[in-house]
């Protein structure tokens, strides 16, 4: 099969870190804080690499949007088995206001440029919990979507997706090309082994700017304030 898979990987504050709000209440403290790949993105990479190992897809491309540091996240995806990476350079104020709408426009443009057959994303990021990028990307491309996937099976040129929904499990069949978003029970992401970390250094990461893709990353949203909940679970 000659399919190419794009996998989105987002660099977020590590899940184990205690989040602190900045004193000026414009956001959370990120300087010097441990960052890692969004856990749902790890699951997405794992699924893509599994498909490649089953020889159902030919190439896995890891994509991340952000400043120089996101290259670490792309390298982790490469160490897990992705073939190459694309770093979409977004920094400074643009990066602070980068959200699902802009990212989905970037992914839609990349999908066309790279002639991707499948996009796998995490269902949501653990920093903003938006749960929008996958859905928006599918809409912009007018592709079918299989979100909250807990099982993905490739059958000829169709995708069977088992989705975790409130009422239970829903199984759908969608045509390729499609967008899939990974939920928790889709798989258990592998460790990057030491030899693979070393091999990943030789894999290529290409840099691209949003403007090159014809995407405007300015935000239509303005963050008014960010504050800590006084007590979790109480309004």
């Amino acid at each position: 099969m000659s399919a190419r898979v794009l996998v989105g990987v987002k660099r977020v504050i590590d899940y184990a870190v205690k989040i602190r709000v900045k004193p000026d209440r414009t956001g959370v403290v990120t300087d010097g804080v441990k960052h890692s790949m969004n856990p749902f993105c790890e699951i997405a990479v794992e699924e893509a690499v599994k498909l490649k190992e089953k020889k159902l897809v030919k190439e896995v491309v890891a994509v991340s949007c952000g400043p120089q540091q996101v290259q670490e996240t792309i390298r982790t995806a490469l160490a897990m088995g992705a073939d190459r990476g694309i770093h979409v350079e977004v920094s400074g104020k643009d990066y602070e206001t980068l959200g699902p709408l802009q990212v989905s426009k970037i992914f839609a443009a990349l999908a066309k440029k790279e002639q991707a057959d499948l996009i796998i994303l995490g269902k949501q990021a653990i920093d903003d919990d938006c749960n929008q990028t996958g859905q928006m990307t599918a809409a912009l491309l007018d592709w079918p979507q299989g979100t909250f996937a807990s099982e993905v099976t490739l059958e000829a040129d169709k995708l069977k997706v088992v989705r975790e929904i409130d009422g239970g499990l829903e199984t759908i069949k969608i045509n390729l090309p499609a967008v899939v978003t990974a939920d928790l029970r889709l798989n258990t992401p592998r460790y990057a082994t030491l030899p693979n970390i070393m091999k990943a250094k030789k894999k290529k990461i290409t840099n691209v700017k949003p403007a090159d893709l014809g995407v405007d990353v300015s935000s239509r949203l303005e963050v008014l304030k960010v504050e800590k909940l006084k007590e979790a679970g109480r309004i």
């Binding site: 670490e72 030491l194 970390i197």
Partner: protein
């Protein structure tokens, strides 16, 4: 006049000492504060594996003494083992510094598991430093193809520190050597696929140590090789330690390292590369003691405060932190020196001696901070105390390290 003379004397002595210090620090370009990206990634993998997979499994392996093969196999799959094996034998050709980073993280999880893994490095080191191409390809190559273990077979019931006093005999007969003798306290003794063996080839008691011994590679399934029972030890209980009897064991001459009489130097040379990782292991244990004690001290209350807020306890933690940081710096220096191609015996001995001592101190202090709970097997720190003791004994006892350090120090001073 006499006073001025004394002042000049003192100033010139101080200038000499300062110059020596400056010369010393000018050669230092080791950056201890920032690891390379690759080193950080390696450390991340080792840390994740240790904390998520070794830590939960360690207590039951300690109770049962069962060999932790599933964990070792996992470590092998992740590339956390056999890091020193050169690339042309299928390994990663890691330096000692990188290997130490990984070792410290694994030891944090369980030093029994880490020792079983480290014994591989110790057994392989003589082959890595002294093996010919055929020997390296054959015996190191197979370690990267499947998760096999090997062992370093030198100590005997009657000779530990006094390596030159070993009695195992190897007699040349045609194209073979016939070996008879008894080895003891061999880590991985019952699990190894092959051993590095040190035996005496020159029977003349007047022959010097540097010529009397030969290093061999012995396949474990050679007829006459008899591992004894698994020894029940105080700590690191899941590690497999045995006596091994060699009865008319025939070793082909192709398995001699370098040549007859070269064994002692090879056996000792391996230590310069394996002592820093052992020091790193002891540091990992001390770090675990510090973290467990700190966590507990921030939970347990006494006299209306968290015990961490009582100075007696916070001072204990501070001293533990001092020791851990210094032990880490010591092994990193020793590892870096040998990676730069320099003789690191002085630094390796200092690191091993210091780390072994502080591991015991930190483990004891951790039990103290836990109080009555620390003495109990439901809490993790009593295991640390039992596991720590061996770090002052194996790979050169604390006393032997002091012998080496004083010899090196006096040697430098006399120059």
């Amino acid at each position: 006049l006499f006073f001025i003379y004394c002042c000049i004397e003192r100033i010139s002595w101080r200038l000499q000492k300062t110059k020596a210090l400056l010369d010393h620090t000018n050669t230092l370009s080791l950056n201890l504060t920032e690891l390379t990206d690759q080193q950080k990634e390696f450390q991340e993998v080792a840390r994740k594996f240790a904390r998520e997979e070794i830590v939960p499994a360690a207590p039951s392996y300690d109770k049962s003494g069962e060999y932790p093969f599933p964990l070792i196999k996992r470590a092998w799959e992740l590339g956390l083992m056999n890091g020193h094996i050169p690339e042309d034998c299928g390994g990663m050709g890691l330096g000692i510094f990188d290997a130490c980073l990984i070792t410290e993280e694994l030891a944090f999880g369980c030093t029994g598991v880490q020792t079983a893994i480290e014994a591989n490095s110790l057994g392989q080191m003589p082959v890595i430093i002294a093996g010919n191409d055929a020997q390296k390809k054959k015996y190191l190559g197979r370690m990267t193809e499947e998760p096999l273990m090997c062992a370093y077979c030198v100590t005997e019931p009657g000779a530990g520190s006094d390596v030159a006093g070993i009695k195992t005999r190897a007699v040349k007969k045609g194209d073979e050597y016939v070996v008879n003798g008894q080895k003891m306290w061999i880590t991985n003794g019952g699990k190894a696929n092959w051993y590095f063996l040190l035996a005496r080839t020159d029977p003349d008691p007047k022959c010097s140590a540097s010529k009397a011994f030969t290093g061999f590679i012995v396949e474990a399934d050679t007829p006459g090789v008899q591992p004894g029972r698994k020894e029940l030890n105080m700590g690191q209980r899941c590690s497999d330690t045995r006596g091994i009897t060699f009865e008319d064991v025939r070793i082909p001459k192709e398995n001699v390292l370098i040549g007859e009489g070269a064994g002692f130097k090879i056996a000792m040379g391996a230590f310069d590369k394996t002592r820093p990782p052992v020091a790193a292991g002891a540091t990992g244990l001390a770090q675990r003691a510090l973290e467990e004690a700190t966590k507990y001290a921030l939970e347990r209350k006494t006299f209306g405060k968290f015990i961490a807020e009582h100075q007696a306890v916070s001072f204990l933690l501070a001293e533990m932190a001092m020791k851990v940081e210094l032990a880490r710096m010591a092994y990193q220096r020793a590892a870096w020196e040998v990676d730069q191609g320099r003789r690191n015996t002085y630094y390796a001995s200092i690191a091993k001696a210091y780390a072994g001592d502080i591991a015991n101190q930190c483990a004891t202090d951790a039990v103290q901070i836990f109080g009555g709970n620390g003495f109990n097997s439901e809490y993790p720190v009593e295991k640390l105390m039992r596991d720590a003791k061996i770090y002052q004994i194996y790979e050169g006892t604390a006393q032997i390290q002091r012998l080496i350090i004083s010899r090196e120090h006096l040697g430098k001073f006399k120059q």
